[in-house]
């Protein structure tokens, strides 16, 4: 085979691989939609938000409690994780003595790598009994939010750290020339400069919280209800899919795919907002 012919073959092969790789996303959307379509076309979109209750085997498909639970839990967890994550990054960059800095960096990286099922196990055996002492039943919105917060702190911390590292040198020099203290530089120069990257990191962390299944499933009690307090057990969209997929058939199965599709759309919107404000997808 001549040289150019071989290169053409290679390019052809690579293109096929790239088409397959980028086609997977379309395939996922296609299959979610076709599986969701039967019940979607019968009952329409509004029924999923305004039905009386979630009795999927009897044709009542109210996803509202699950949507509210998912939303509340990811908001709560991000409210806890955002300050902790930003503070973690600031700690590494500004405050930590050198010995601590390395160790703390490792802790953040290791924490990012803890499988969610292990966090769920820890949450169920440690956090849930502690909350039970405050108010029964223990497995609750609060437990889910705490475990999720621990899980997404590294996401916020690592994106903030990357953003801090990308601040141009002359910002630091300028701050020093103005006679700003460490705190003055931090509050007046560094954090305002990376505002949009921090926001993007928070959006990515929230997408992760919304999509998380195992940890939430294990600690939040899984009762289908609108939460009235932090101590109420709730069931999120993801937990609902994981719990019912095992035995769901027909319209019920189809309704679970609708909730999966809804979840995907929500996560895409968050990722899109993050991208728009200058965030990068962290593949870790």
């Amino acid at each position: 085979m001549s040289r150019t012919a071989r290169d053409t073959c290679l390019l052809l092969g690579l293109s096929v691989a790239a088409i397959v790789a980028s086609g997977i996303l379309l395939l996922i959307i296609l299959f979610l939609s076709t599986e969701a379509w039967p019940v979607f076309s019968q009952v329409g979109l509004l029924k999923f938000a305004f039905d009386e209750a979630w009795y999927p085997t009897e044709g009542a498909f109210d996803l509202k409690p699950m949507l509210v639970a998912s939303f509340a839990m990811s908001m709560l967890s991000i409210m806890l994780a955002a300050p902790l994550g930003i503070a973690s990054a600031v700690f590494c960059r500004f405050y930590a003595p050198p010995v601590f800095r390395r160790a703390y960096q490792w802790i953040i990286i290791l924490l990012a790598g803890i499988p969610s099922v292990v966090l769920g196990l820890w949450g169920l055996t440690v956090i849930v009994p502690l909350i039970l002492m405050l108010a029964p039943p223990g497995a609750s919105l609060l437990a889910g939010s705490l475990v999720l917060a621990l899980m997404i702190v590294p996401t916020v911390a690592l994106t903030t750290q990357a953003a801090l590292a990308s601040i141009p040198q002359f910002y630091w020099v300028g701050a020093a020339a103005l006679g700003l203290s460490r705190e003055g530089t931090l509050l007046g120069v560094a954090l305002p400069a990376i505002r949009s990257s921090i926001f993007a990191g928070i959006m990515l962390a929230m997408a992760r919280a919304l999509g998380e299944t195992m940890a939430v499933l294990m600690v939040s009690g899984n009762v289908v209800q609108l939460p009235t307090s932090l101590f109420d057990p709730v069931r999120t969209l993801t937990a609902n899919i994981a719990l019912e997929m095992a035995y769901a058939t027909g319209d019920h199965r189809s309704a679970l795919f609708v909730s999966g599709l809804a979840l995907t759309v929500l996560v895409f919107i968050l990722a899109w907002v993050a991208r728009r404000s200058g965030g990068q997808v962290v593949h870790a």
């Binding site: 690579l14 790789a21 980028s22 924490l111 621990l150 999509g211 990722a271």
Partner: protein, 291 residues
């Protein structure tokens, strides 16, 4: 920072600075404390159950007694299927992205966008897709093959992105040199670019393996729950993360085995990620040495 200048600002905001210092330290210690608590708890409850027979025997009494050997085998098989499928596909796509498309061009942007979106799909949604496509539509049922293929889709973005970075790290001089020697692009790729980028490619592979091994939600409806030793790839096999979930939630008194399994899983992950870090450090050193 010059000390006298520093003093000016410090004299204006002494309270604010103290509060900030305290808050940042408190937050950092809280996160570190939670991590240490988690780790200590795992060791405290898991280490007693962990011994050689735990690794080498089959689970008895729904996993309360016995070990996790068939589960380790299933996990390895699922991850192996995922990597065998995703690695060539990922490498080929990465080569196309780094060597044959213009940076920021339409092709590169389109493929990049689809990969970034794919990376953000929640794992439970991969589970739904895997169940609908591999298990039902392709008729693979609950099997190691379904689970592995689902994970292959999931780890593809991370494999492609790391491989692409690795290939882009190779200096352009080397490509020009190869072209000047009259090598075809295929030969240049095969003889120069891929060998040079190998440590990064392997590091990406390790990250992919780590991601696949930690996954639970995508596997529950694809590779299933069966905790017997699989006899082929078409058998259902229980991954170690699914085992931890099942022991915690569905087996009363399974906590100790769950903790021991969690320790095994984390040890495997630390090993795999350690290898990834070591490999990418090595490339960096080699790069400095060649300069």
């Amino acid at each position: 920072m010059p000390e006298p200048a520093n003093l000016i600002d410090r004299e204006i905001h002494p309270v604010r600075d103290r509060v900030l210092l305290g808050a940042v330290w408190a937050a950092a210690m809280l996160v570190a404390g939670a991590f240490v608590w988690l780790l200590a708890d795992l060791l405290w409850h898991g280490a007693g159950r962990l011994d050689w027979s735990f690794l080498s025997t089959a689970p008895r009494n729904s996993g309360r007694a016995g070990g996790i050997w068939p589960i380790v085998v299933s996990t390895v098989l699922i991850v192996a299927v995922a990597i065998v499928v995703a690695a060539p596909l990922g490498l080929a796509t990465a080569v196309l992205l780094s060597e044959f498309t213009r940076r920021g061009g339409a092709t590169e942007r389109a493929i990049g966008l689809s990969l970034d979106v794919l990376a953000g799909v929640p794992s439970i949604v991969f589970g739904l897709f895997g169940n609908a496509f591999f298990s039902v539509w392709l008729g693979l049922g609950f099997s190691i093959l379904s689970g592995g293929l689902t994970l292959a889709c999931m780890v593809l973005p991370i494999l492609i992105r790391t491989a692409e970075t690795g290939l882009r790290m190779v200096p352009d001089d080397w490509r020009l040199g190869a072209a000047a020697l009259g090598l075809s692009r295929t030969t240049a790729l095969h003889q120069i670019l891929i060998p040079v980028a190998t440590p990064v490619l392997l590091a990406g592979l390790m990250l992919g393996i780590g991601r696949a091994m930690a996954e639970t939600a995508a596997l529950v409806f694809t590779s299933g729950y069966v905790d017997r030793m699989p006899s082929s790839l078409f058998d259902s096999g229980r991954a170690i993360s699914v085992h931890i979930y099942d022991l915690t939630m569905n087996v009363a008194g399974g906590d100790r085995s769950a903790y021991a399994s969690a320790l095994v899983l984390i040890a495997l992950l630390v090993l795999v990620n350690g290898a990834a870090i070591w490999l990418s450090d090595r490339t960096l050193q080699r790069k400095i040495a060649t300069r």
